[in-house]
Amino acid sequence: MATNVQDIITKYNKDKTRLMDVLIDVQSEHGYIPKDITKEIARELDISHVDVEQTMSFYHFFSETPTGKYAIFLNDSAVANMMGRQKVKETFERETGIKFGNVTPDGAIGLFDTSCIGMNDQEPAALINGRVFTNLTPFRVKEILRDIKDGKAVEEMYSAAFGDGENRNELIKSVVQNNIRKKGPILSEDYTPGIVIWKKLPEMTPEQVIDEVKKSNIRGRGGAGFPTGLKWEFCRKAAGEKKYIFCNADEGEPGTFKDRVILTERPKLLFEGMVIAGYAVGATEGIVYVRHEYTYLKNYLENLLQGARDRNLLGKNIGGIEGFDFDIRLQFGAGAYVCGEESALIESSEGKRGEPRDRPPFPVEKGYLGMPTVVNNVETLCSVVKVLLNGGEWYAKFGTKDSSGTKLMSISGDCKYPGVYEVEWGFSVKDILEMAGADEDRVQAVQVGGPSGSLIGPDEFSRTLCFADLATGGSLIIIDNSRDLLTDIVLNFTEFFVEESCGSCSTCRNIPNMMKLKLEKILDARGIAQDITDLEEWGKVLKVSRCGLGQTAGNPILTSIKNFRHLYEEKIQKDKDYDTEFDMAAAVKASCEAAGRIPNLN
């Protein structure tokens, strides 16, 4: 069964830019990446050993040490905790006799925490050897552990029926549910794959395609909202021997899972969108960067790509257009939120640690392998197909003036119907709460746009979702008044940023942790008024970080201070306005321990 490392390296043509793929294959084969193998990889790819170590040690799902025959990664996002993760975790620990972060002595089971895995609508969820297990309960945990004891293969461990739609596909066979609650142009079944490639592209010049996209006024759905037509035009005009289209399917923002649903239900729409983008900018290769957590879709997606090649929707002279060659490959990540940042995504695809680049130059000028590259979100690329099919003007009629079209919202948290809703831009938060079946009298806050977005209270629920008001990549987390906002949400999100910083910037590497410590101090009733001011000031320093991660890492704390200041004020000590933060007793104890003396504090 074991593939030889040599075979893996040869499979990727001894190409050092494919280091990620090599490591992914070794990790999945061995359950870890032993030192002798990293040495062999370095030798064969003709790079330093530290280069291999640098990439390997960056990603959460690569490990230097064995992760167990069954490696269990339990999602640690705020919503997972809201849905009962703690009991699930305790059951895992009690039944296996180990704590999270460890492997059982017999090497059978490894228990690990992991950042949001894109299943917020069916939490608590975990990945076991790459398979997704959703809606976990202590009972279910015991069943799973019994199956493991019986030596069952992970594929045989599902007890519920497979999920809906393509989740049942022979090549997916997953219990994941789509939870599509509202359809629009993107999720609509009314779509014939290849229709734009066959019917529209042959009659249009690349410039006309770009013009049509511009007319639609569509802006990027990945969060930043950059006008898509303009991005394509920049790339088209940039000089380069080769150009690339990247689809950003990293979807790491906690609470976002709409791209998962598109990848499951409308992958052909996505691929067609990439072909259109390729035609428009003059690219020959497309790469879909898929987060590691969605590896369960790999065979299914690969198979569809092959199908598209067979039908001349990919490959040479696509759609009968002479000289139009374009193909798509998948690039998997290995667990790093920052790789969703477009330049980190490119670095990662080149086999490196996912460290964002300095911009300028932007990817449209110098992207993948130094060539002009378009990076677009999954949803953006899907929307473009509908734009070309029905015209830019048709598309611009949906939504609001500055935000045209529809948006897929990932809604989770305290509501009856968590899932994916395709709504026109301009929906108010209030409408969404109603639609998702939230008990409005009990909702105390909504997290808009994930941890990097903002936490808003009821007085702002009439605000609308659009770039001019509440811009969002699509995640909405509903939080009712049974939750402790600062502990359950704000602290969890701050910890997320501490965990996910690439560490390059002095600011982003340190300040989120310092803010976290200060928040804990306040939660622990040791805070003073100055601590709140400090948090606000420190948060400002983060704004000079290199990428969006650092720039927004203070947002959970900053937006909650802004909108829920009373929660902080309630917790601080009112009679104290100066705090040395020095604990004499603790210091004496530590020094006595070090010196081997018995403390005498009298």
């Binding site: 530290v50 280069d51 300095d358 910037c505 002095s506």
Partner: protein
């Protein structure tokens, strides 16, 4: 055709070759923008963020951003300088910097910047991390306590055939610098010396050498960092 571009720093008209990084362009015009991770002649990587300026009201790292025609750059304001000062403080508290006992004292750019920005007590709590000293290399000592992760060594030190000797390991707060055991063991004297010189702090020190220049006579003992640029 002239390739000179005109731009303004704090309202002062400046000129430089198109494509010059703001830091360099400022230097040519006698304006000092503090830098730490930047080294002249090596491709920049905006890591420390101390060179942050405002370009069209947006914070940008001056060491990585090229000047363009008509650019308006804001450099010397109380707010920006306080941000810079807080970055210096962050770097002090995240490591273990005991200047009086450090061989680099007086030649250290971090220390020099702390003097320039008149850092007294850092606003951030000391982390006192548990860090080690790696003395496994035959020519240099790597002291993780003092490393500010500026990436200079990674970027500047390569073997003759262009291979990396230094690299990052892990990420976030766990980030550290590692040295390739094999390539590091075969360091030439010149490369080892270059590594020592390239490090802005006392994180890479030569073995069996030290205090060749007495304290008091070192680079920043006499002059404020950046004053050479401002004098021009």
């Amino acid at each position: 055709m002239s390739t000179l571009v005109k731009f303004k720093i704090d309202g002062v008209e400046c000129m430089a070759e198109r494509g010059t990084y703001i830091v360099e362009a400022a230097r040519e015009n006698g304006i000092y923008i503090p830098t730490l991770c930047n080294i002249r002649g090596v491709k920049p990587r905006g890591s420390c963020r101390i060179c942050t300026v405002l370009v069209n009201s947006r914070p940008m790292s001056a060491c990585t951003t090229p000047v363009t025609d008509g650019m308006e750059i804001i450099n010397d304001t109380p707010e920006i300088n306080d941000t810079r000062k807080s970055i210096i403080e962050v770097l002090f508290v995240e490591g273990n910097h005991f200047c009086p006992s450090c061989e680099k004292s007086g030649n250290c750019e971090l220390q020099a910047l702390a003097y320039r920005f008149q850092m007294m007590v850092p606003r951030f709590p000391y982390i006192f991390p548990n860090k080690t000293v790696d003395a496994s290399n035959p020519k240099i000592i790597k002291d993780h306590n003092r490393c500010i992760l500026c990436k200079r060594c990674i970027r500047a030190i390569k073997t003759d055939d262009g291979k990396n000797v230094f690299a990052f390991k892990k990420r976030g707060m766990k980030l550290e610098i590692i040295i390739d055991p094999e390539l590091g063991d075969n360091f030439t004297d010149e490369l080892a010396q270059k590594a020592v010189e390239i490090c802005p702090v006392g994180a890479i020190l030569p073995r069996e050498k030290g205090y060749q220049i007495p304290i008091g006579k070192r680079k920043y003992d006499q002059v404020v960092i950046g004053s050479d640029i401002e004098k021009k």
